[in-house]
Point group: C2
Chain length 265, copies 2
Amino acid sequence: MNGMTMADSDEKQEQGVKGTQTLMRALDIMDEVIDGPIRAADLARKLGMSKTTAHRLVQALRSRNYLSVTREGFALGPKLLQLGVLATEQIDYVRVARPFMELLSDRTGFCVFVGKREGEYSRHLDRVTGTQRLRVATAPGDRRPIAETGLGKALLLDEDEAGWERLYIEARGGKPSRAQIDAYLKDMREHKARGTVLHDSELGDGVRSIAVPIRDAKGNICIAISIASAAHYLTDALRPGLAEQVVRAAEQISGAVGYSGPRRA
Amino acid sequence: MNGMTMADSDEKQEQGVKGTQTLMRALDIMDEVIDGPIRAADLARKLGMSKTTAHRLVQALRSRNYLSVTREGFALGPKLLQLGVLATEQIDYVRVARPFMELLSDRTGFCVFVGKREGEYSRHLDRVTGTQRLRVATAPGDRRPIAETGLGKALLLDEDEAGWERLYIEARGGKPSRAQIDAYLKDMREHKARGTVLHDSELGDGVRSIAVPIRDAKGNICIAISIASAAHYLTDALRPGLAEQVVRAAEQISGAVGYSGPRRA
DNA sequence: GATATGTTTCCGATATATGGGACGCGTCCG
DNA sequence: CGGACGCGTCCCATATATCGGAAACATATC
């Protein structure tokens, strides 16, 4: 159809590893099949390979159960179910997140944290200390009531309001006033709508943070990332721009652990 | 170092598709990585390929996020999380099961059914009519109380006893006697221990069935398969051999939808 | 039954993957 | 401290595994 004939003119810059054309093409096929069942002939057209090649690769993938045959063409195969489940067990969120945390720290200069939920607590898993003189003391391994940290709030964004209220009361130990609870809920609603948590420590130590949830392949919040510093540095003026960067980092990490958007079209 | 040199003795008979050595080797690597993080050099040894080749393939897979690098070697990558989830949505249990149902029907001559659970009911999804004159009337789409069919019982094997009792009572509409309930529970315990459901219809129509659950990649029972016929054909003498065959079919289907055994070693 | 679209097989030329070997690096050990 | 070892990385000549054309076959469309 198009001038695909010979003129692949410039190289694809994403070739990456040389000597793997076959593999790469096969994986290209997998990527196409992600979008739903597709016919071998269509694959050949879309990927600019001969019908023969498409057919050969597709058969190979099917013989290994990476693809399955359906009435409407080839679909993702059962082997992927197995691999998916096993990958879940092998994935190390911290290791995946590391490089992105470092990048974020480099670009902002702030301390970066990731943490996960442990029941009513949030557990800090990893930290990248920024370039700033003033450091936030929280160390990996620390556990704090989930409702009272920025990271924790981010982990709670999918929770319902009853959950927020319950966890807030628990975190408060004593019994907060109705007004306090309502203020907290209002706060959380805003965070949720924005997808970003802007947090000022209630301990009066002037620590501020910006936290964003990270979602796994199933769309659930699995960990959260945050940057934190003294309010003196993390000023209101800077917040929007920084929030933007944290969100971007969170999106990249989400992608790297298999998240593929709110809902596949 | 070891006698790996040349003596890979017999070829793999499962080469299947020709002209895909690279792909096949890459997928062999994936299969090795399934067993846990592994070093590139070990892959080369285990799979009888040169270090160079192993390295090249591994890099290619990593560049596509099918593998990730960890301290202890290469592990399953985030892309598999994404593919796993999407495969779940694309998998069509009925289509996967079809060929196995036909095989089972051919070999036994009986009617074969598959069905899934719908709350307190079991829904018959597909049927392969056997060669026998006498046919079981249940058609795809039919819904029966889950506790009163063989297929349904197989779907319940993972349920706890309280669940069994509740569903049995519901199925009975009226209130069964304590003795009836206990008999039912005893029955279910036996089915569960055996992994196979031997069912005689309580309607007095002389219909018998043998049902076995099918498990998905997570190990959960997702559908069940059964053969059914008149007790006149499906005699006590035949039962053990037939049960064996149904179990084998169920195992194959389970494998085809990603189940990888009770628990990976 | 004729046309169109997709699937499968076969085969020779050549682009492509292969493995030997070398290098740098970190670690273990005497 | 120096040497041996294991691992990841790179280069390159070579063998061969891979590619695509063509055509038989299968199925859908009209």
